[in-house]
Amino acid sequence: MLKRKIVPKYYTWISTVASLTLGILVYLIITLLAGINPLEVLVNIARSFISPSIVKDFFVLIAMGCALLISFRAALWNIGGEGQFYIAMIPGVLLTLFIFNPRYNPASAPLVILLVALTGAIMGALWALIAALFRAYLKIDEVPVTLILNYIAYYIVNYLVFGPFKGRYVYGYLRTDEIPEIYRLNVRIYLPMRGDPLQVALQGLTVQLAYYIALLILAVVVYAFTWWFFKYCRLGLYTKIHGSNPSYLQAMGVSVNHTILLAMTISGALIGLTGSMYLLSELGRIPYEIERQTAGYGYLAILVSWLSLLDLKMIPFSAYIVSALRNAGIALQVAGLGGVEQSLLLIGAILLTYSITRFLVEYEVRVEW
């Protein structure tokens, strides 16, 4: 077994494709053993890869995958995407439901939306900053801290929904009021959904793209920012060097602690931004038990980032795969082929084969006899 000195570029692609294929294969074998028709499962998985319903997850995961990439490249393992995502919704609700009532000044709506985005980013950044401070000044590992902060964020948001943010027009449901339409970021178009399956799919895609236009713009903006950050920004270079040799940064007279703080807060800010945009374009309000409202984008985004081998070019590709698989899990559940565990099993199987292929990318294994 030898460590490869050079990893050919195409190995990245091959390993990603191979881990997917093998992961699905492992999954199929398990389902077969469980007495479920693997063909039916496979059809459902395949269908989800071309389903228009994945666009929302796709956009969100691109944005969050990029955000995590910034901290991961610095070897700062921000597992707190979940917390940063939800905590960022608090100022959004506060601004749209309590401070700026659209009945008095509808013309200010664009400004309010910008403010929601900005405060969301700040909130996410502050949440990440807590873990960054622990890491930089107390040398406490950021993994458990960010993880614990996820739960604190859940409970804070839930508490607010339970108490001060509790809606007045919610028919007894535990949730906030609906955010006024004027602040919502969806574009609704209606298409007949007729024609051959391809046409229907394309029409469905158009409807979805229009509806989630804000998330599309968000994904493009965050992606472009991350590209710029690593390619041109001085701090981006420091971030990368922190990931490979912090002592060198120190010897250059660059503050290692500031690099940690900045990389983490930028990562948190981008996630916070995503959270606030998600509030305005998908949720429309915060329901009780916030942690059950998404499939855990904060965790899925970790998968997206790792699957890309921390390579920005691969982020859209891995975001696509992860969102398709997540939807496959749902489709399987709907088709009665299993419960939530089906999607978890599938993702687990892929992570397993991914770790193996990742190892094979870095090491050359030779069998001697």
């Binding site: 050079i6 001085r234 060198y248 007279g253 001697e368």
Partner: protein
Amino acid sequence: MSNVVLSTSVDTSIAENAENVILSARNISKSFPGPVIALDRVSLDLYTGEILALLGENGSGKSTFVKILYGIYTPDHGEILVRIGRVLEKVVISSPADAMSKGILMVSQVPQLISKLTIAENIALTLTSLRLRGVKSFTSLTKILKIICEESERIGIKIDPNEKVYNLTYTQKQLVEILKAMIVDAKILLLDEALTYLPLLERKRLYQALYKLRDQGKSIVIITHKIPEAMEISSRIAVLRAGKLVGVVNTQETTIDQVRVMMFGEERAKQISYIKMQTISSRGEPRIVVKDLHVEDDYGREIVKGVDLTVHAGEVVGIAGIAGNGQRELLEAIVGLRKMRSGEIYVGNVNVKKKGVKGVREIGVGFIPDRLLEHGISPEESILENIAASTVRSGVNIPWNVIEEISRELINLYQILTPSTRTPVKYLSGGNILKTIVAREIENAKKALVACNPTRTLDEVSAIYVRRKIKEKTVNENLAVLIASEDLDEILMVSDVIYVMNSGRLYGPLAPETPREEVEKLMVM
């Protein structure tokens, strides 16, 4: 990836022809990313009971060659034969552990020992993992201690096996490495610049140990860039240039000049000269001022014990001394990388205690660190990014076109061998990594340059170029330069003022024309 095929068939014709060949490398080729060919069909035989010196300039493929023999790299083409019993057998060496089990052991520049363990524990680790000399996982340390004592007595190395490795000097660590080679009963010892950093006297002691081994029938390959060293101890000299074997000569039948021509070619060999560089008569204001400085080493022991030192603008101050006497820590403290216990340091107008490394670097102080891989580079990043990180100190965006220009210029000037400016530094050879750091830091030096062993892994031509460059810049740009070097020739060649560092104290200043013997006396007293 490799075409080396394991085979148990025995090539008897060869075995008959060369009875005292212990290892034979045939047509070894190896290439690295980009257009770099590290080795191009190199064939070399090693005989029983000889010391073979392997010479070549930086990036000529010396290290790659021995790393292939030690199983760190696998060759793209070619085959390796090792004598097993009475015959030469084709072998595949897939890892260092594999190499050790075949009787091949390498000692490199950097001792591969675990600092927190004792000598005996370190050796026990090797023995248990290889299951040599009847040592298994549960063998008691007493038995291993006995083996160590026996072996060290046999070759005349005095050490306490219960000493923690971090308490050892560099020389002692290298001795332990060689002792380890004896204990695992290596037939072939590969020394990759292993003696380079050793002070003269200790090096001589090691030569004696090597002669003993040679006389016992062991074979030794020694990589060095010091031709006199090769001339002194080897029986044959092999020279590599740009990955090709230029030739193998019997040491007694050649001269230093002939070997230089083999290494560098007729034209470039002429550049080599050890004449003392011009000293200047006038010097400027004090630029680096150190007052009663006390500094601790990594283990909290006081290693710099009250140093006073002034470096003026326009002069080169050289600190001679044997490694481990506090030079590294002194220099690290001066640029603000190491906390001082007490004392004062000013660089320019910067109070180092208050402003730290950032303040020092911002006024334009270049620093060539002793720990190159730790403080000198970020291995995953390219030359371009490494240069950008140290030169661009303000602004949001990095002006890549400017950096690209600087990088190309430095690569040309210092003849850094790299496929491109975008190749991660970790793919460069050791000498070329040092060249990158040296080039960058000389470029960064606007007010002062603080350098620890700036040429130690460079070949003669490159080392002389670097020294000239430093001297030139000192005079032309009124730079204050402080160099600590274990290479006394270097100190004598470039210094306007000489100090000697010994046991944490500084002795001097000595005049630049102080005789060598006097300086040496201070180094070892």
